[in-house]
């Protein structure tokens, strides 16, 4: 058994173990050690194989395929039953369509097809493995501390911590399988498992809302699964292959575009692009660790991962253009919708959808530069976003709210969380940090490939992004001058993952030239067969790193200046009516009145419901157009 197989099976073992053990302390220890081992394994795999990559097949491939089929039947049985039980027939219907289809295909045709490479570990899957391994395991450790607090705060929900944690590990296993499989039936199986995990975790609290949202997520993801299944059958029958790598190396002729379109459709559902985005927004009812792990850092990345894989076929084809269009609409409109939100998790959700849209644009344009940006976006988005999710989770427990308007008091409760949240937000949009570097390259890539519409969209989208992040940052900053009254302590299980995440966000910015040199450039060179170069000039990279260093050094160097320079403190200006506490003023009748300050949400312009509505309509139109173009291409 090689390292890669271990990487996939080990989380599975931990999942079973956590499910069986009901003692809190022992389970906590197992989760912590297990997660740490997974992270180590991921690193070990990277160290061993990253340089040269590895492809291999299993001896008992047949047996594995049968096992997978059995599991698929079991899952389908489960889904169909609960669908009928809860009167959500659509999931049953989807399941009834896809599972027999795949079974029929495997039994009738599948075994004739020779699969040369079941597993492929190249630099792209290497990066995904590292993201899933490190960020995923940190989130699992965080979940131990978080769930304890969660049930402390929410006594009304039945406690199913074992179940929760074990699903998290099951998901990690599936995710590793997903990024490593080259055999599409296996990939499809892992794909379905991640959908199922998502469903189980969203429905964790078993409230009406949770149920509704979890079924919506399942329905949309299974819908994507149906498209995936059809794509597999089509490829299998027409091209006698089941390998993703073979598909992506084909010529982009009209007939190939049909499965590519179906796969892209599946990818769009998974990464919650318009018109399929509603499930991700609803998924925020789930406990925060699952939101962080599935709905922002890793699972939704599976969709864009698939699009990046398909990138050589997309480019300027009708499918590519349609996918780019959907990415544009998603990026712009969900950024606008995020402006109107004050619930921290909602903002994160909208911003996730938006950033996935950006990655989709990059991936579907498919030039070397664009893919460079896309992969870097995945890395930076995963680290920043999961940091923020973890912070928001802890903040909710500390101050009893996750509303941005309430976060002005955060500094009084926990300086650390305040700082980490600040770093997370800075990582999303400010200059020397990762997301901006990728956005910058994306912009360059768009203009180089003459996608003017995408350029305009990214220009507007960035401006809007700036608005909603900066006002959140402002709320965090506005409390920072108050004295800390620490009445709540962060548990160690929460603090350590958050701290490591924050360090990752900063270090990854320093390290991006290395990531580029050792991972992206070789990968893109091999993929395109021509030398890739880092799209940002060396002088610019140096300047970026200098800026980052300045941002770290200058605040520290201010401390001695502060110590020396004592100033007279005066009350803030309230037209002379400040009562002296800087929070209240004397009203017309001499009574004390509180000055409340709220951010702008511009709901009259960018109402989120309206944005979603418009976005969905445009996206559907683009999809229809894509189909028409596709058929037109076939007819030629």
């Amino acid at each position: 058994m090689n390292l890669i197989t271990t990487l996939i099976l080990f989380p599975l073992a931990i999942a079973v173990l956590t499910f069986l053990i009901r003692n809190d302390k022992i389970r906590g220890a197992i989760v912590t050690i297990g997660a740490a081992c997974i992270a180590l394994l991921a690193v070990l795999v990277t160290v061993t194989y990253f340089q040269n990559g590895i492809t291999f097949s299993y001896q008992g491939e047949e047996a594995i395929s049968y096992l997978i089929m059995v599991l698929e039947v079991l899952i389908a049985g489960y889904v169909i039953t609960i669908g009928i039980r809860d009167k959500k027939y659509i999931v049953s219907v989807f399941s009834i369509i896809q599972t027999p289809l795949i079974l029929w295909f495997e039994l009738a045709r599948g075994h004739e097809i020779e699969v040369a490479k079941d597993m492929v570990y190249d630099k792209l899957s290497g990066i995904m493995v590292l993201i899933v391994g490190i960020i995923g395991s940190l989130i699992c450790i965080y979940a131990v501390g978080y769930m304890r607090d969660y049930h402390h705060h929410h006594k009304e929900y039945a406690e199913r911590k074992s179940f929760f944690l074990s699903v998290l590990f099951l998901f990690l296993s599936a995710m590793f399988g997903l990024v490593l499989s080259n055999n599409m039936t296996w990939l499809y199986f892992c794909w379905e498992i991640t959908s199922l995990c998502s469903f189980l975790l969203i429905g964790y609290t078993k409230t009406e809302e949770a149920k509704r949202n979890s079924y919506r997520a399942l329905a949309i993801n299974l819908g994507g699964g149906v498209a995936f299944a059809f794509a597999i059958v089509f490829i299998g029958i027409h091209y006698k292959t089941l390998e993703l790598s073979v598909l992506t190396s084909m010529q982009p002729e009209a007939a190939v575009m049909i499965p590519v379109f179906l796969l892209a459709l599946a990818a769009l559902t998974k990464s919650a692009q318009f018109p399929f985005s509603s499930w991700l927004l609803g998924a925020m009812v789930a406990p925060t660790p699952s939101s962080a792990l599935l709905h922002s850092a890793t699972m939704v990345k599976a969709g864009v991962y698939l699009i990046i894989r398909l990138a050589p076929l997309l480019g300027n084809s009708p499918v590519g253009i349609a996918v780019t269009g959907i990415g544009c609409v998603t990026f712009l409109l969900s950024s606008l919708a995020a402006v109107t939100q004050s619930d921290g998790k909602k903002i994160l959700a909208y911003s996730t959808v938006a950033n996935l849209g950006l990655i989709v644009i990059c991936a579907s344009i498919g030039s070397q530069e664009a893919l460079w940006a896309a992969i870097l976006l995945i890395i930076f988005h995963a680290s920043s976003k999961s940091l923020m999710f973890l912070c928001v989770g802890s903040i909710e427990h500390q101050i009893g709210s996750r509303d941005v308007e309430d976060m002005a008091v955060l500094a009084e409760v926990s300086r650390k969380l305040n700082l980490f949240m600040f770093i997370g937000i800075a990582g999303m949009f400010l200059a020397p940090f990762g997301m901006l570097i990728s956005k910058w390259v994306a912009m360059k890539a768009f203009i180089d490939s003459k996608h003017i519409l995408s350029v305009v969209v990214i220009a507007y989208g960035s401006a809007v992004t700036l608005f909603y992040w900066a006002k959140w940052m402002g709320k965090l900053v506005s409390g920072s001058n108050k004295k800390q009254k620490n009445d709540h302590k962060l548990s160690i299980h929460e603090e350590i993952p958050i701290t490591i995440h924050a360090i990752l966000v900063i270090v990854s910015c320093f390290a991006f030239p290395f990531i580029s040199d050792y991972a992206l450039i070789p990968y893109l060179t091999e993929l395109f067969g021509k030398d890739a170069v880092i799209p940002i000039g060396t002088s610019d990279v140096n300047l970026m790193i200098m800026m980052l260093a300045m941002l770290i050094i200058i605040p520290i160097s201010f401390i001695p200046i502060y110590k020396k320079d004592k100033r007279r403190i005066v009350p803030i200006y309230m037209a002379g009516e400040n009562t002296g506490d800087n929070e209240t003023f004397y009203g017309g009748l001499g009574e004390k009145r509180k000055a409340t300050m709220r951010n702008w949400y511009l709901t009259e312009y960018f109402d989120s419901k309206k944005m979603l509505y418009i976005g969905n309509i445009i996206a559907v139109l683009i999809l229809v157009l894509g189909i028409i173009l596709l058929i037109g291409g076939l007819a030629k």
Partner: protein, 149 residues
């Protein structure tokens, strides 16, 4: 060199004026008198101001406000009482709510009489205040260097 003489910024506060003096204060900004020639700006914000220009007498209700505004001004700062009401209470002196001139509450440096004070005399008053401002600036920098030693 003292630059405070060259760029005096003014905070204008209306105590309980009949608005006669206020109109004249604003007249100073108009093309006819153009106080910006002297670098004077009407800031409307105590934190930016060097000169607190008060029209009208002080009443019971605005004592804390005047004090707070004065407190919010950075040193060196001067107070100019514009109009007879601000200097002594004027015809309102005997009203039940009037405390009297501004000097009952704040240390006034320059008094500008008149009802209403003419723009020329307001400008004269402000220019006088500049000399006081310069004195205060010198005292301040002396104090600063003494602290340093």
């Amino acid at each position: 060199m003292n630059f405070v003489k060259k760029s005096p910024w003014i905070l204008h506060y209306d105590g309980s004026s009949c608005n006669g003096c206020d109109i004249e204060v604003l007249a100073c900004l108009t093309p006819l008198y153009d106080v910006e020639r002297f670098g004077i700006i009407n800031t409307g914000n105590p934190k930016h101001a060097d000169i607190l220009l008060i029209t009208g007498s002080v009443n019971e209700q605005n004592i804390p406000i005047v004090k707070q505004l004065y407190e919010q001004m950075p040193e060196p700062k001067v107070v100019v009482a514009v109009g007879i009401c601000a200097t002594s209470g004027g015809i309102f002196a005997d009203c039940y709510n009037i405390v009297g001139g501004v000097d009952k509450v704040l240390p006034v440096d320059v008094y500008v009489p008149g009802c209403a004070a003419r723009p020329e005399s307001i400008i004269d008053g402000v220019v006088k205040a500049l000399a006081v401002l310069e004195e205060k600036q010198k005292a301040l920098s002396k104090k600063k260097s003494a602290v340093k030693k």
